[in-house]
Symmetry: C2
Subunit: 141 residues, 2 copies
């Protein structure tokens, strides 16, 4: 492949929640108790089959309000710790502003997935939903 | 935002490893002992500052050979288990074929990161590198 092709992603859904600006968003999903819904767009709802309350999912978001031009940041905004390379942080500002959160499904309502622990703002595009990885013990295979 | 805009991602690097076709790739990074390097492209090398041997990173890949048109699959190719929605699996075939692996850095050599446990093929675009999440105990904050 060439060195800098552009690749196209298509949102599969959108977040609905009470957080309206990045300043309101918790630093991380492990620090949030915000409840919200993940609306899955109609062309993709068949891919939800098997999702149910109690299951844990990994969700990828596109942080559409985040800057993409920074390569170093102060982690968690703390200037006393010095600038650090973006790739050693979880900063929302990154060349490809893809965020990753883990949720336990509270309820499925039609094409909406209710979760708690939302750390992104209302209107954030959803890129993917995955099951959490099964760590299979190689000795047992 | 509109319902189906297209968003543009730009690879920040590329994988070099001995796996040449998807059929060779292990099902999952937890099942691979393949060693490889993550080459970070020059515009983004400043974002590597602070990465070092022994640190654990989360890496997002774009599975450029994967089908994007399937919504259901047989998990791990096992037809006895029935078709399941893509969003309940870790299948490489998904509307946005973004894969997620976790690695411990073995060595940094210039703009290359040596890791073991590669489960994607040679030439796979790299989208992002993150630190693993810190699960902060809210009671201690």
């Amino acid at each position: 492949m060439g060195k800098d092709p552009e690749l196209t992603i298509r949102p599969i859904g959108v977040v609905h929640c009470g957080l309206s600006s990045p300043a309101d968003a918790p630093m991380n999903y492990t620090e949030s108790s915000e409840t919200g819904t993940l609306e899955i767009f109609t062309p993709y709802t068949d891919a939800m089959e098997g999702l149910e309350a109690g299951k844990t999912i990994v969700v990828l978001f596109w942080l559409h309000k985040a800057r993409r031009d920074l390569l170093k940041v102060y982690p968690r905004g703390d200037r006393s710790r010095g600038l650090r390379g973006i790739f050693t942080t979880r900063s929302p500002m990154r060349p490809n502003p893809i965020a990753l959160s883990e949720f336990t499904i509270q309820e499925i309502r039609g094409n909406s997935i209710l979760v708690s622990g939302i750390d992104v703002i209302d209107g954030t595009p959803i890129l993917d939903i995955k099951s959490t990885v099964m760590r299979i013990n190689a000795a047992n295979r």
